[in-house]
C-alpha cells in the first residue's frame, strides 16, 4: 500500500501539493506514482519564473520504464525548483513527500478542485486495478 499523507492535497494526475507558511505551494509526485514508475533516472525541471496554468505540463519525470509529465495542480509562477533532482532523481523514489519535492509555485488564486487524501486514495486504488 502506498503512503498518502492526510495533510496534503492531491491531483487526479498523481501530483501532491503542500501549502507553505509563506503562501507558496510545494509540488511533487505521490508515493503511488513513484512506485508505479519505478526507479527514476532523469527529471526535467521547469525554469524559475515561468508562468503556468493549472494542468500545464511543466516537468518530466522519467524512469527506466516510462516518461511521465508532471502537471501544475494550480496556476501560478514557478518560484523554486529542486535542483538536487538533476543529480539524484532517486530522491523521488526514496522520499516523495520530502526531499523528492519537484517545484514551488506562487499561486495566482485559490487551490480549488484538488482532492483530499481520502479521495486520492480512491484514485490510487482504481489505477492499481
Amino acid at each position: 500500500m502506498s503512503n498518502i499523507p492526510t495533510d496534503l492535497k492531491y491531483a487526479r494526475t498523481h501530483e501532491w501539493l503542500r501549502t507553505l507558511s509563506d503562501g507558496n505551494v510545494e509540488v511533487g509526485i505521490s508515493d503511488h506514482a513513484q512506485a508505479a514508475l519505478g526507479d527514476l533516472v532523469f527529471v526535467q525541471l521547469p525554469d524559475v519564473g515561468r508562468a503556468v496554468a493549472a494542468g500545464d505540463a511543466c516537468a518530466v519525470v522519467e524512469s527506466v520504464k516510462a516518461a511521465s509529465d508532471l502537471y501544475a495542480p494550480v496556476a501560478g509562477h514557478v518560484v523554486a525548483i529542486n535542483e538536487a533532482l538533476s543529480k539524484e532523481p532517486e530522491l523521488i523514489n526514496q522520499d516523495p513527500y520530502g526531499r523528492g519535492w519537484v517545484m514551488r509555485l506562487k499561486p495566482d488564486g485559490a487551490t480549488a478542485g484538488l482532492l483530499s487524501a481520502a479521495d486520492y486514495q480512491k484514485v490510487a486504488d482504481e489505477s492499481e486495478g
Binding site: 519505478g38 533516472v41 532523469f42 527506466v64 516518461a67
Partner: protein
C-alpha cells in the same frame, strides 16, 4: 507483476537499478521458468536440427556443448532465437522463448513428424539464471562436493547434468554465471538457499537492462518474422559453411548476402538526459529513416542506450525522435558493457 507470455512475472522485487548493479558487481538470480525447454530425441534428431537451425548443429561435437542460433522461415525471417544443448545419446535440448512457444512447437513438430523425431516439452522443469561475477562460486557452494567440482569446471557455453539437474554456463546478462534447469518442486527451496548465499532476487526489468547493455537481442523487439538475421546483428550466428547444409531460410539469406542487406542493427548512445524507447523514429540525414528496436537507461553508463535498425549506409551519428524533438545519438558497436566493463565511448 506483469503478464509475460501468460506468466505472472515481477518487473522488480525492489529497486530495478539495484538489482541490475547486484548482477554487475556480485550476483543475482532470475526466475526464468517461463522459458520453454524442449527435449528432441530420436535417431534423426540431428538431421532435423540441421535443417531447422541457421547455426550449424554439427558444431556441437561434445556432450554438453551449447549453441546460440536462430530458427528461420523460408524467407529468412526469424521465427525464434534459441539455445540448443547436446545431450546424451545424440539427443538435444532446446530452450526457446515463452512468447513464441506455440508457434515454435507447431513449426518444429511439423518438420519432426516425417523424421520420426520426438519432442518432449519439459514443463516439469523450472529454470533459474544465476548471474554475476560471484554467481558461479555462490551457486557451487550450495551443491554437493562432486556437483560443485563439475560445474566449476564447465567452460563457457557448456552444460553438465547433475542427476535431475542440468547446469549450463550460459546467460543473458553479459556476466558470467549459470542457468540451472531443475525439477520445479525443488526450485523454491533452491531460490531461498541462493538468497541465503547472498544472491539477490532480480526481476524482468533488470533482465532487460542487463541484456541490452550486453548487446543481446530480444525476440519480438530486435528481430521477428519480418526481419532476417543479417539486418539484426545476428549474421555471426548463421553458418553458411558447410555449403551443402540446406537449412530453412538459406536460399533467402544467400540472395540477401549477394545484393547486400538494406539495413543493419546498430547500438546507440544518447547524450541528452532522456531515455530511448522502442519504436522511436530514427533519422539519418542524407541516408534515410530507421527505428529504435530496444531502448533503455543504462545504469552502468548513466545514460540511455538502445539498438536501432537503420539503413546500411548509416555512419557515426543519427537523430532520434524523442517526445517530439530530434536528439543526436552516437552509433556504436554493441556490446555496451561486458563483465562489468564499459566497452563504448
Amino acid at each position: 507483476m506483469v503478464d509475460f507470455g501468460g506468466w505472472d512475472m515481477p518487473v522488480a522485487y525492489g529497486s530495478q537499478i539495484e538489482e541490475h548493479q547486484a548482477v554487475r558487481r556480485s550476483a543475482g538470480v532470475f526466475d526464468v521458468s517461463h522459458m520453454c525447454i524442449v527435449d528432441v530425441t530420436g535417431a534423426r534428431a540431428r538431421d532435423l536440427l540441421s535443417r531447422l537451425l541457421a547455426n550449424d548443429i554439427g558444431r556441437l561435437t561434445t556432450l554438453g556443448k551449447a549453441l546460440y542460433t536462430c530458427m528461420l522461415n523460408d524467407s529468412g525471417g526469424v521465427i525464434d532465437d534459441l539455445i540448443v544443448y547436446r545431450m546424451e545419446g545424440g539427443d538435444y535440448r532446446l530452450v526457446v522463448n515463452a512468447g513464441t512457444r506455440d508457434k515454435d512447437m507447431a513449426w518444429i513438430g511439423a518438420h519432426a513428424a516425417s523424421l520420426d523425431v520426438s519432442l518432449l516439452e519439459r514443463r516439469d522443469l523450472a529454470m533459474l539464471a544465476i548471474q554475476g561475477p560471484q554467481a558461479r562460486e555462490r551457486t557451487a557452494s550450495l551443491l554437493s562436493y562432486d556437483g560443485s567440482r563439475t560445474v566449476l569446471a564447465l567452460e563457457t557455453f557448456f552444460a553438465a547434468r547433475l542427476g535431475e539437474w542440468f547446469v549450463a554456463r550460459t546467460g543473458y546478462t553479459g556476466e558470467d554465471g549459470f542457468e540451472v534447469m531443475l525439477p520445479a518442486s525443488e526450485a523454491g527451496s533452491f531460490w531461498q538457499r541462493l538468497n541465503g548465499a547472498g544472491v539477490r532476487c532480480c526481476g524482468l526489468g533488470a533482465r532487460d537492462t542487463l541484456r541490452l547493455e550486453a548487446g543481446m537481442n530480444l525476440y519480438g523487439n530486435d528481430m521477428d518474422e519480418q526481419t532476417h538475421p543479417l539486418e539484426s546483428g545476428l549474421g555471426w550466428t548463421v553458418a553458411f559453411e558447410p555449403s551443402a547444409r540446406d537449412f530453412i531460410g538459406r536460399a533467402a539469406l544467400e540472395a540477401i548476402r549477394i545484393r547486400g542487406s538494406d539495413n543493419k542493427l546498430v547500438g546507440l548512445v544518447l547524450e541528452e538526459r532522456t531515455v530511448l524507447r522502442s519504436h522511436q523514429k530514427v533519422k539519418v540525414p542524407g541516408v534515410g529513416d530507421g527505428e529504435v528496436t530496444s531502448g533503455t537507461f543504462s545504469p552502468t553508463l548513466g545514460r540511455s542506450i538502445g539498438l536501432a535498425r537503420v539503413p546500411s549506409a548509416t555512419q557515426a551519428t543519427v537523430e532520434v525522435e524523442v517526445r517530439g524533438r530530434f536528439l543526436p545519438a552516437r552509433v556504436v558497436r554493441p556490446p555496451f558493457v561486458r563483465h562489468g566493463k564499459v566497452l563504448v565511448q
